[in-house]
Symmetry: C2
Subunit: 368 residues, 2 copies
């Protein structure tokens, strides 16, 4: 049994220059959190997100003023932008005419069939796909009454609109059905996966802050990806959206789906610890911020697992006591270093590494 099942094959859809579905890698996306009408602040955040590796960025468009900001940002954005529209379908029409690479709607709150048909027509004209984005918190009243706030109700709601939009003709669809808990989120996407050909956008919605949000997002998105379900992901977190992007890549890395930037293997520290692992790791992270090279760097407190892990990494450092640490690279002890300048020495070794890292090669030699 492998970690990740073969990927469900979704019909490919293009969001600006980014392909999702088909054989495209799982795309990482996020959403701007600046006030929707504040165009310069939003553009600045989009640039920060792009730098962190975000591939698609969503902006809320709640009113006319935000629509003007959306158009301004779209004209300057380094990323394809998705307009997130609720209640007023005319905003969707105008966002499509203002550079939206995709629009996200919850069709149940757009005012009925007439407005939805208009949106489908305008999307066809502009070539932008539509995400049918159902959310447990805004589930249609009828389905909520008959089926409760269940995964099945979410999936049915999404599939009903997908069928309508397919019939009316659209350039492409993406589907999501998010709940604020792992259980209903996973169940809803499993239902969708078997019943639509379109790419699935994964996320646990309103996952919350910090540790709780990261864990919920990793569980929900991770379980689905491990089943081969999901074409693009967004980790919803209360806080800086850059963390959402980092978390997205960590989920993909953890499942062996994509690698971006350095991976730090560092011990949790314990009573044996002979190196300030936390401080060294923080310094290494700071100095490698923005690096795309997928090197594996080990920072270990002591001799129990230290040399073992450090050897298997591209570069490693293990505490040795008495103000000393040992530096490893390419499976060999390089030298003993003073902990005071251990980070400098570690960074020097990292700078010497081949861009793709060494570990993969070593492991293939070892027959792993």
């Amino acid at each position: 049994m492998t970690l990740v099942a073969p990927r469900r094959e979704a019909r490919p859809v293009r969001i600006g220059r980014v392909a999702i579905g088909g054989t495209a890698p799982v795309a990482v996306q996020s959403m701007a959190k600046t006030p929707a009408a504040d165009a310069p602040a939003t553009l600045a955040q989009v640039f920060r997100l792009a730098e962190a590796g975000c591939e698609i960025c969503r902006l809320a468009v709640p009113d006319r003023e935000s629509l003007r900001a959306f158009a301004w940002v779209a004209a300057r954005s380094p990323l394809p932008l998705v307009a997130d529209i609720h209640f007023d379908h005319r905003l969707a029409l105008d966002a499509l005419a203002s550079g939206a690479a995709k629009i996200r709607i919850n069709p149940g709150n757009l005012g009925g069939e007439g407005p939805l048909r208009e949106v489908a027509r305008e999307a066809t004209r502009s070539g932008a796909p539509i995400r049918v984005g159902v959310n447990l918190g805004s589930l249609e009243a009828g389905l909520a009454r008959s089926l409760g706030h269940t995964a099945e109700a979410m999936a049915r709601s999404a599939l009903r609109y997908v069928a309508d939009l397919e019939q009316w003709g659209v350039p492409g669809l993406v589907v999501s059905a998010k709940a604020p808990d792992v259980d209903r989120t996973v169940e809803a996407y499993r239902l969708l996966a078997g019943k639509t050909v379109w790419p699935l956008h994964l996320g646990v919605t309103e996952a919350g802050p910090g540790t709780a949000g990261l864990v919920k997002g990793a569980l929900g998105i991770g379980l689905l990806l491990s089943e081969g379900i999901g074409d693009t992901i967004r980790v919803s977190l209360t806080g800086d959206p850059v963390t959402e992007v980092h978390a997205g890549y960590e989920i993909l890395r953890g499942l062996g789906l994509r690698r971006r930037g350095p991976e730090i293997i560092s011990c949790p520290m314990c009573g044996r610890c002979r190196l300030d692992v936390e401080a060294v790791v923080a310094e290494v992270q700071k100095r490698l911020a923005g690096s795309l090279a997928p090197h594996v760097i080990a920072v270990m407190g002591c001799a129990v697992n230290g040399p073992g892990e450090a050897r298997r990494a591209d570069v490693g450092l293990a505490g040795a006591g008495d103000g000393k640490a040992v530096l490893f690279a390419g499976g060999q002890v390089i030298r003993s270093v003073d902990t005071a300048n251990a980070v400098d020495q570690l960074l020097e070794e990292i700078a010497r590494l081949p861009a793709g890292g060494r570990r993969a090669e070593e492991e293939s030699e070892a027959g792993v």
Copy 2:
């Protein structure tokens, strides 16, 4: 298909007063990170961990001085303590005589069969179980040569020692096989699950700092628990061990296995946000720190999913603009509040809730 498969039935083992395996809930554990010889600092950290919900705490015992500290802490500890021993089996013997509720060893580094038999004898005398804790970074050289640094090599290493210890007689065993990546960790435990009757201690080792560590831990532990594998968990993180405990409970809550303390459903904020969700959530978390009541509290920025989520939570707050927010409880709008004192009002409503929370009841009414 449910989120979590029926649990693998492991033979029950007692670690002091805490049972693992059998029908016991999955236990959350952590490890002290204070210097091993610093008894007062270690005891203080054990108390902090206990307050956070930690149920079993491991201490490193690398030398005689640490052994004295271990005995001192064990005599005063609110939690059963596990002595973590490498290289010197006499430390294991003495830790067992000094109040260890379990010892964790990697039998391959204890000096061969003779010392290991002595440890088994002393464990039998004291009644404490032994964790056979294999780690990829300290895999036996012979197995690493023949099988590479693989999940199979880890599982074989662990099972070989389990067989020896079973044969010599021990009061109980717990088994772990941790790698610093999700893939080999999951594979190793899957192999163990089918080949031993003993409880499994789950963890991704050296998972690293912050976001990366949390994601790796949640993925590895979460995937295994979802398959019904695992009896106790430890989330290894570079940093404060209290975060490890919180993360452990979040994993269990996310999978519906255990609930401890409030759950906050909060939106990720976006351009529509009309409430400082991040600040409100931080304040609510601060003021509910240490609360064990598993209430579901929603903090939502706007009207799109806000009222929906807030209604399904035990208590909820949704931004309404112009310095106002709406307070929900028991499925009803309670009142409009000024955002300036919204947290006070929210806390007042929380104080009025039944201890177990309302949501479960509501959902059963709604036929969910």
